[in-house]
Amino acid sequence: MRFQLTDEQEALRAGVRALLARRFGPDALRAAVGRPGVLDRALWRELGAAGLFALRLPEAEGGAGGGLPEAVLAFEEAGRALLPGPLVATHLAAGEVAGAASGETVVTDVSGGLVEWLAQADVVRGDASGAVPVRSVDPLTPLHRAAKAARGATPAPDPVAVLLTAAEQLGGAARTCELAVAYARTREQFGRPIGAFQAVKHLCAQSLVRVETARAAVYAAAVTADRLDIATARLLADEAAVRGARDCLQVHGGMGFTWESEVHLFLKRAWVRTHRAGLNTYGDDTLAEDLLSGTA
């Protein structure tokens, strides 16, 4: 058993991280918030060229021939960077919708009764007719609510979409833990860095515990692609992302409550993702039913 990243996987992760640091750093993030509802198509094509969407397509079809573990690592990085756009939907459409793999075509879908980035998408998968705009809580995720009829007919969520969303949540969770720690080391009160106070220290430590446990669950699900492993990954990653962002906000004090700080963006995106592919009560029930099944 070698449940660790391979050298190639480490390199892939570093490569995606470097690309996103260069193309979607803090300034670009702020600029994106200033232009709500507009997707950077040049960046989208670059993501396509870098292989984010074609990652799992066979090499013969112009893909990278990667598997779920590679996709999970890339989406974890996207989550860390708060990269906007219907990334998961477009990735899933690669090889099925023309231009999706290369980043020429932006693809969104109807998922959990919502449609992300409808106005900017070239192709919508699912029935978005009659969808009405929502004033989205997340400034970087425009939302439409699907018409009632379409909502009722929601198909079972695609497990890969659930897994890649969990990977994004994991990346966001890891990043908010880092942001909290960085702030706790530099912000001083009572003549000491606030990170010297246990109340703050323990918030940070608890964040890390959630991240590392979720990481093991998400990576394992990427290896097995098992339905229950994916449900587990989702539950733990949602928890790590939402609570991690909340604790990060708390550690930042008044600064955490500002529009200017990026902390709220992590929390809001985490909230949006918990609704993707339907709320995670689906996962609770799946995991409960499993306990009554014969196999261990």
Partner: protein
């Protein structure tokens, strides 16, 4: 990243399974929980069987008499023995997981030859005399004194919460040899025979009603200098070697057992009609996720240990924190399933619920673990 086992690992598992199927039916009946001498005999008997079959000290280095197994093989061993319902490490815990590895790492050849084989063969039991009434979380402030008198140390003081003290032959003892040095620098590690004159053991009753640990009073106990492992006043460093063994794979069997219990809980909830209670069902589903994830985290940590070839590191603190709280949540949920049955001490889950309360205290409280994670992994400033 992969979770599949190599053919060698699968062969190891198959051989182990076959052996377990053969020997477990030959075990004597389990002794009653309160009968410590019988428990000692039972645990040592099991250790002897492991030794005869070549499974003793699986994860110990070969030159210490161990098998030098890989961390993954050790994981398979712990998983399979638990699944087959084999006895726990029990009274052999300190010998196999604390004192033994410390002596293997820090002892002289003579010390290794004297103390390690009896642990592996199931002949001697060790206990751990670290904590004191005034030195718990702040272990380094311990005050039990040892003076040099020729070839012996004369030890006086008291230890507390010493598990298995009543049935132990040896105690890995931390004493203060230099009271004037900074607290971490004046400590020495000694192997003390529990039958030495001046040693008095007074059992303490736990909240579960059992006598699992004891106070140990030391009144001018004479311990040969030859029983010192490591240099005088270097005991803190020697001890850290031990403590890092205390975390990591220590809970593998328990996680397997918790996952089985969770299924029993769900079945009990179903049979009693409580399954229709959506919040309870959801709580069970979340626990399933929790213990599945803990199993994955174990596999991750074991693979990491295998990759780095090292001792389990502070990553063990992350696991211990998550696991000890999950275990308490598991038994609280069991109580919810049992309803008023949760007040009946004759139900085994009720005793387990009581003992689960020690998990966030023993071997470093959760608060101390959070400090460790914050300071050693996240690099936050040290508190006092």
């Amino acid at each position: 990243m992969e979770l599949a086992h190599s053919p060698e690992e699968e062969e190891f598992r198959a051989r182990l399974r076959a052996w377990l199927a053969e020997v477990l039916p030959t075990l004597p009946p389990k002794p009653s929980p309160g009968d410590w001498p019988a428990r000692r005999a039972y645990d040592l008997g099991w250790q002897r069987m492991l030794y005869d079959a070549g499974y003793a000290g699986l994860h110990w280095p070969v030159d210490a008499g161990g098998r030098g197994a890989t961390p993954t093989q050790h994981l398979i061993f712990l998983e399979e023995t638990e699944k087959a319902g084999a006895p726990y490490v029990g009274a052999n815990f300190v010998g196999l997981l604390h004192a033994g590895p410390t002596i293997a790492a820090e002892g002289t050849p003579g010390q290794r030859a004297r103390w390690l084989p009896p642990v592996l063969r199931g002949e001697e039991v060790w206990c751990q005399g670290f904590s004191e009434p005034d030195a718990g979380s702040d272990l380094a402030s311990l005050r039990t004194r040892a003076w040099r008198d020729g070839d012996t140390y004369v030890v006086s003081g008291s230890k507390i919460w010493t598990s298995h003290a009543e049935v132990a032959d040896w105690c890995e003892l931390l004493v203060r040899t230099d009271p004037s040095a900074p607290k971490h620098r004046g400590i020495t590690w000694l192997a003390m025979p529990m039958d030495a004159p001046g040693v008095t053991v007074r059992p303490l009753r736990t909240l579960a009603g059992s006598n699992e640990f004891a106070e140990v009073f030391l009144d001018e106990v004479r311990v040969p200098v030859a029983n010192r492992v490591g240099a005088e006043n270097d005991g803190w460093r020697v001890t850290m070697v031990t403590l890092s063994f205390e975390r990591g794979t220590a809970f593998v069997g328990e996680v397997v057992a918790c996952r089985r219990l969770l299924r029993e809980l769900a079945r009990a909830a179903y049979d009693s009609g409580r399954w229709d209670d959506a919040p309870l069902r959801r709580r069970l589903g979340r626990l399933n996720a929790e213990f599945r994830a803990l199993w994955r985290l174990t596999q991750w940590n074991v693979s990491e240990a295998e990759r780095t070839g090292g001792v389990p590191g502070v990553g063990g603190s992350v696991f211990k924190l998550r696991y000890s709280h999950a275990r308490q949540e598991l038994f609280d949920t069991a109580a919810e399933v049992l309803g008023t049955g949760s007040l009946d001490l004759d139900h085994p889950w009720v005793l387990d619920r009581l003992s689960s309360l020690s998990y966030t205290i023993a071997a470093g409280t959760s608060q101390i673990q959070w400090n460790i994670v914050a300071e050693r992994i996240l690099g936050l400033p040290k508190g006092r």
